[in-house]
């Protein structure tokens, strides 16, 4: 049994696997399958200052080796999270990344300030949601805006701050450097890639929002490339995600430079995916005689 524990920004994770924000709600639905304590952490559903109803349906479309979603940050609001979901989650013995979003830097900062007095372990600031008209990816696609919102949230909280980056940019390393300079303690990437499908019989987009975020195995090579580039460009930890569906994928993303790995769409295919990935990582490490998963982080040897 290899040592699977990792540390990100001084925060301990018993293993590197974290269900990604948006696929896992606040965890309750998946406790029917396995104890949440088997996970390294959880990135909770993106939560805003006030309740949001989200976009009209259809919000989901399948794509080759992946899917599109345009949920649009439907969530019950941060007060509900703090009062109802967080106390329950805190009893579950896993590291909690509270994912937050907002339409303005002020709103993001206000949400972060509310979490500052709670026992969440880390804040993951979403500046990359492709499905909302204000905020969301609008923050994440400009270095100045990304830095501005990061700075405001940084001032609002002492919690370790992870900024979740959009891949829908010309240079993700520039955005990563901008948020690092603005006070981010870590970055997580990649959020979904903006995509679209059209029903050729009706000539209507499949998604009611016309466009949506693409995820699933199809985006994995892009995630590997971006994690590798960002890990080489910044001095803060990188949490990797994007199409991870096996222990081998998770190992690959860590070799690219990720200190921990989030799992998203794979959970829709197999609800047990995160715990299977933990087991598979352990098998891989044992088969190679590697004592600690920390020993593989960033160990890719580029040509």
């Amino acid at each position: 049994m290899a040592d699977l524990s990792v540390k990100v920004c001084g925060v301990d994770f018993k293993n590197p696997i974290i269900p990604a924000s948006g696929v896992f709600g606040y965890g309750r639905e998946y406790e029917e399958f396995f104890p949440l304590s088997e996970l390294g952490g959880i990135a909770t559903k993106g939560t805003t200052l006030h309740r949001r109803t989200g976009n009209l349906s259809p919000r989901i479309a399948e794509t080759p080796a992946g899917m599109l979603n345009s949920v649009g940050l439907q969530n019950p609001g941060i007060d509900h999270f703090i009062e109802t979901e967080l106390p329950w989650l805190l009893t579950k013995d896993l590291t909690i990344l509270a994912n937050i979003a907002g339409s303005t830097p002020d709103e993001c900062a206000e949400v972060a300030a509310k979490l500052d007095d709670t026992d969440v372990h880390m804040i993951e600031l979403n500046i990359s949601c492709p499905n909302v008209k204000q905020g969301g990816a609008a923050f994440g696609t400009s270095c100045d805006m990304a830095a501005e919102v990061t700075k405001r949230v940084r001032q609002a909280t002492k919690k370790p701050l992870i900024v979740k980056l959009s891949p829908n940019v010309t240079s993700i390393t520039d955005i990563a450097k901008a948020v690092e300079a603005a006070g981010a303690d870590a970055v997580s990437l990649i959020n979904t890639l903006l995509g679209m499908r059209i029903d050729i019989n009706t000539r209507r987009p499949v998604l009611r929002n016309n466009v949506g975020g693409m995820s699933g195995p199809a985006v994995f090579p892009i995630a590997v490339r971006m994690v590798w580039q960002v890990a080489n460009a910044v001095d803060i930890p990188v949490i990797g995600m994007g199409g991870v569906s096996s222990g081998r994928d998770a190992v690959e993303l860590m070799m690219a430079g990720a200190s921990a790995v989030q799992v998203g769409a794979a959970i829709f295919t197999d609800p047990y995916a995160p715990v299977k990935i933990v087991e598979e990582m352990n098998e891989f490490l044992d088969s190679k005689g590697i004592a600690s998963v920390k020993d593989i982080i960033g160990t890719v040897q580029p040509w």
Partner: protein
């Protein structure tokens, strides 16, 4: 325990109409948990998303569930290619089912096309108290009529082209039955225009009506919020989710 996921043996497979298949699946635990109106979420090899399919039969003694589904695309085609004796990867039972009452004297079950299968567990429950109205494109698309009769339910068949039964929509016999009175509940599943028509008739007649909806879905258990449906709760608009709050909704709650 509310739902489970695993691989289960297909104990029966039958093609019951063009591109429509009936599977019997041995899954004692899921069968013991399932109630009429719930659905199962089936993995199609190589696809990211599972396919939600309504439950057509619950046999607790045998420990089986029956599903009847139509090939709609690549995913359902792959599932239809599975064979008796093989394994099916299923997450079940899911969703919120129909409201059943032993006090109801007479109920109407309305199925439109591939919306007909979820009416079968209701027919099993109500037996001769049920009138099953089914609508199909034509006679060759008609399914489950003998199955309904075996439960003791009265059957009324409608086809769009008049090739079998009544030439017309299911709302025509429904209108007559409601006008005659004595109906305690109407349950329906099928295309949205049909459900809208059924709901309107029930409202006019003051009859309790539940409808089963479908929507593009990802997790199937209420976590991802993908399958939103506009509903009204306490006079406020609320985006409910077909997989967890539904698929069965009170017709009065749905905003069309």
């Amino acid at each position: 325990m509310k739902y489970i996921q695993g691989k289960y043996i297909i104990t029966g497979k039958e093609a019951i109409a063009r591109n429509i298949y009936s599977f019997e699946i041995s899954c004692p635990e899921a069968a013991s948990l399932a109630v009429p109106g719930q659905f199962v979420h089936i993995r199609a090899a190589g696809h990211t998303l599972r396919r939600p399919i309504s439950i057509c039969g619950i046999n607790r003694e045998k420990g089986t569930l029956r599903i009847v589904f139509e090939i709609r695309g690549e995913g359902t085609e792959l599932i239809a290619g599975l064979n008796k004796g093989g394994l099916i990867d299923m997450l079940a039972p899911l969703g919120h089912g129909f409201t059943l009452s032993p006090d109801f004297g007479k109920v109407i079950l309305i199925g439109g096309g591939i919306g007909t299968p979820p009416m079968m567990p209701l027919a099993e429950y109500y037996g001769s108290k049920a009138i099953a109205i089914s609508g199909f494109r034509n006679s060759s698309a008609a399914i489950l009529q003998d199955d309904f009769k075996k439960t003791g339910a009265e059957t009324i068949l409608c086809t769009d082209d008049g090739s079998a039964g009544i030439h017309g929509f299911v709302t025509e016999p429904l209108k007559e039955l409601l006008a005659n009175g004595g109906i305690d509940a109407v349950y329906a599943c099928g295309p949205m225009p049909m459900l809208k028509g059924v709901s309107a008739l029930c409202r006019e007649n003051g009859v309790f009506c539940e409808i089963s909806l479908e929507e593009r879905m990802a997790c199937g258990i209420g976590a991802c919020l993908g399958c939103a449906c506009r509903t009204k709760r306490n006079d406020e608009e609320y985006f409910a989710h077909v997989c967890k709050d539904g698929p069965v909704f009170n017709a009065e709650e749905v905003l069309w």
